[in-house]
């Protein structure tokens, strides 16, 4: 199971045997049943999670009580609230499994320890973050420039299988509009 993380690392960097072992040794694993949380508003985010199997969403609840989904995570993604994790602040986010899931996780002190001295693990996280940055920028660009309907069509085009995997109201929330509006879009599309 830890193999999936090992393989992911090897896709990007080439640690020595010792470097890899030192890193994998401080990884913990956990099974999360569907609908359970790995992070809840008001708590401290103590782990960065690598998703081995399953799907998660991170969302916050606004002042009107509406859930706003800001990210999804699936297999081979790292998921955390960086703000809370790095700055040791209380999180405003909830991270919930949308289906039965397995994660590997690493605590802040353990991660700090490895990052203090391991060149390749630093490289690994730097590269991951570069890719995340590209994805975030692209998302911001889309949000600015596309209508709701275009956002849905674009998302569907690039992630057809994923759309089947989650309830529509979560996708609507992620794309920045209401579930009712998503229904409208789909009705239009299939007519």
């Amino acid at each position: 199971m830890i193999e999936s993380l090992k393989n992911h690392i090897l896709r990007f960097v080439s640690p020595s045997k010792k470097e890899m072992e030192d890193f994998l040794n401080i990884i913990e694993s956990e099974n999360i049943p569907a609908k359970h949380y790995i992070l809840k508003e008001g708590h401290y985010c103590n782990y960065n999670h690598f998703i081995v199997k399953g799907c998660f969403r991170s969302f916050f609840i606004n002042e009107k009580g509406v859930e706003k989904t800001i990210n999804f995570g699936i297999e081979d993604w790292w998921l955390t609230d960086f703000d809370s994790f790095m700055n040791r602040t209380q999180t405003q986010l909830n991270i919930q499994a949308t289906e039965d899931a397995t994660v590997l996780k690493i605590s802040k002190p353990n991660l700090d320890m490895v990052l203090k001295s391991s060149l390749e693990i630093n490289k690994y996280f730097r590269i991951i973050l570069e890719r995340v940055r590209i994805a975030d920028q692209r998302r911001i660009q889309y949000m600015f420039n596309l209508s709701g309907e275009e956002l849905y069509n674009t998302f569907y085009e690039y992630n057809p299988e994923f759309v089947q995997r989650i309830p529509q109201y979560m996708l609507a929330s992620y794309l920045g509009f209401t579930p009712e509006f998503l229904s409208k879009i789909r009705a239009k599309k299939h007519s």
Copy 2:
């Protein structure tokens, strides 16, 4: 002038004398007059830029010909199109100085060379990217949850001096609405 980059690095990491020198040695510098570009749509983004003095905006031009500002950069920020820079693809972005500016810049091959072996410089960019990630996530969260008026007020609250520094139409574009709407907000506020 390269002192400002050196100081920035020392705020986050502790390279050896040699590590710092090797890095600073491959940095180039450039003065950019107001309105000039350091990146233009269709070109390859060959540099990551560290802003010593001045202000830049990165924007793309949509199919209707409207400029959409997706980022600003000021003193002590790194600015590039990561997608183009990392993946060696043609950029869709323009990066323009909004006032006379000075940048330090590093080419992709030179940066790759340093990152291959320097632990501290890898750490440095990893930490920068973690902070960028936090900012991006916060921005997405705001964009989802705040009205145009709230976005402006929040931005103004946290960056009062910066609002004076750029034309309003750029800020409107960055916040995701039209300059006319920003005028409306301000008229309301000052009445």
